[in-house]
Symmetry: C2
Subunit: 332 residues, 2 copies
């Protein structure tokens, strides 16, 4: 075991797009657990769009990431030292470890991983992104069989689960994604009924053709022009779960023009943060885990190698360069 | 009784702001009721913002107003001839009479007015506008005592009821209205805690000062920049009832910029049409009528005289020239 713990700190807040210089790689001693604590060696770090919001010093639902501190992030890893009776050396644990190779925990927020599935799935389809999909689709969207569900960022960690859960409930699932490769993956590998490339010049016509009966449930991850295109096609009494607005993370204009659709179609639009609904996580994880085990819920991972690669991989995620869940596999 | 029935027809659809030339005054014979029908002589015609939407040939929740037909509209009047056993000559009735001096009804949608209150109130505080306020505030906004409720178009027929109902439920009621006279009326006569003039150069600062604890419930009648200002001040888990978007009726841009607030503050935003919730009208009318009778719910009317004045009064309503409920008192 190394005695050094490499960590990415937030060095500066982005002005516009995130740059590698916003992060600084530091080294600390691997800490020793005190009474009640465990030391976890991280195997995988999860990179997620919400981190972009935390990098700003703006009013939001969560406090901003502090400058000079280890970047926040979900991790999965192995207990290498325990002074907590509930944990043993060798246990696999998912928790908020941050962008570093080792982290200490008093057990709060640390969840033991049951055997059976690959550990990385607890950062993706059976972890926070999958539960986000589950919550927004089922608790807000409430799709009924035969309805049309549209999800933006469809090839991502959240969107890919949304569409598959919609299919499992007898809905028509239509994805929106950037580029033909992602769209092909969404249809061929994930089983969506259709996927529309928002970067294509034929986007409007293709989208219209993909939702001939209009949209009943929209799971919104992007915002901006893509959201407007969906708003224009919503059916009466449609539901919109607002999960993310990636389009605005770079400081771009995300004005929405088709607000009138909310009134004309009597829509329900609701924003949500999945971490505020922890009481539903066990149920969601059980359903998602069972679906993965049975082969009914598929997922793809894009894995960057080594902690050094984290900022570059994160910037790629914000640019949409990943397919499925973006992870960093720690070298240690 | 006159034998002629004057009527305003829709002559052409507006391009931009409504003009008097969009309407045409016609005359027909006063019709004779057939078996099961009643003839109503209209006392008051209600003018409402929703009519603007119907004048366009656009996809909406209701079919467009047909060209060459009598303009739709709510009316209150007196049964002058009845061949329906449920109605007698002299009964007062509220119903969808349209912009005309007489209308026939088979009784569908016609409601008998109980004695006690002035008949015009059934087109305002105890009619469709009041029930709209009641539904949006209580069924969507669900305000709790101590919360802050903001309503745009606060001096109008709907907004004035929203704020007063909020006060009756122990909330802080803040109005947004155009001009110092309307704002003074909203505070002094209707008892709101504050009212902010959106036409003032100090709007932003005044609005901020009026909602020191943020906004928990927004009842939105206007859209556009006023909606953006409210979105920026919403509290976590706030509710927005979308009742109208007057700002866009003239074809103006009503893009909304602060969409991110829906996500950041986990807002619930819901559009509604009160006529789709007829099952709640008796309860709403009973509560609103009792509040008016007890002097707890006040209302103001702007009354134009004679059917000739209807288009001009309607254009004034869209420009915000009225105070409270806009009515036309028929001359006949």
């Amino acid at each position: 075991m190394s005695t050094r713990n490499r960590q990415w700190l937030l060095a500066s807040r982005p002005r516009g797009p995130v740059e590698e210089s916003n992060f600084r790689l530091a080294e600390a001693d691997v800490p020793a657990p005190r009474d009640g604590e465990v030391l976890v060696r991280v195997h995988y770090l999860s990179l997620d769009p919400y981190m972009r919001g935390r990098m700003d010093d703006a009013k939001s639902y969560a406090a901003p990431q502090a400058l000079g501190e280890v970047m926040i992030g979900g991790t999965v890893g192995e207990v290498v030292e325990s002074r907590n009776p509930r944990w043993s050396k060798g246990d696999l644990a998912v928790g908020p470890g941050g962008w570093q190779e080792y982290h200490l925990s008093d057990g709060k927020g640390l969840v033991k991983i049951p055997p059976g599935l690959p550990e990385s799935v607890y950062l993706g389809a059976v972890g926070m992104p999958g539960i986000t999909a589950w919550y927004g689709l089922l608790q807000i969207g409430k799709p009924r069989p035969g309805e049309t569900v549209v999800v933006s960022a469809a090839s991502g960690a959240v969107g890919s689960v949304v569409g598959q859960l919609a299919k499992l409930r007898g809905c028509r699932a239509v994805g929106i994604a950037g580029g033909p490769a992602k769209c092909a993956h969404v249809v061929s590998d994930l089983g969506f009924d259709a996927c529309v490339d928002y970067k294509s010049h034929e986007f409007r016509d293709a989208f219209q053709a993909a939702v001939p009966g209009g949209i009943d449930v929209l799971f919104e991850n992007v915002g901006g022009a893509v959201l407007d295109a969906s708003l224009a096609r919503m059916n009466a009494f449609g539901r919109i779960a607002v999960c993310g607005l990636i389009a605005g993370y770079g400081g771009q204009d995300i004005a929405v023009r088709n607000v009138r659709s909310i009134l004309v179609n009597r829509l329900l639009v609701q924003g949500f943060i999945v971490s505020e609904h922890l009481e539903l996580w066990p149920q969601a994880m059980q359903e998602l885990g069972a679906a993965v085990a049975e082969g009914k819920l598929r997922y793809r991972e894009t894995v960057a190698q080594g902690i050094e690669s984290a900022p570059r991989a994160f910037i790629g995620l914000l640019r949409g360069e990943n397919l499925g869940k973006q992870l960093v596999r720690m070298g240690g």
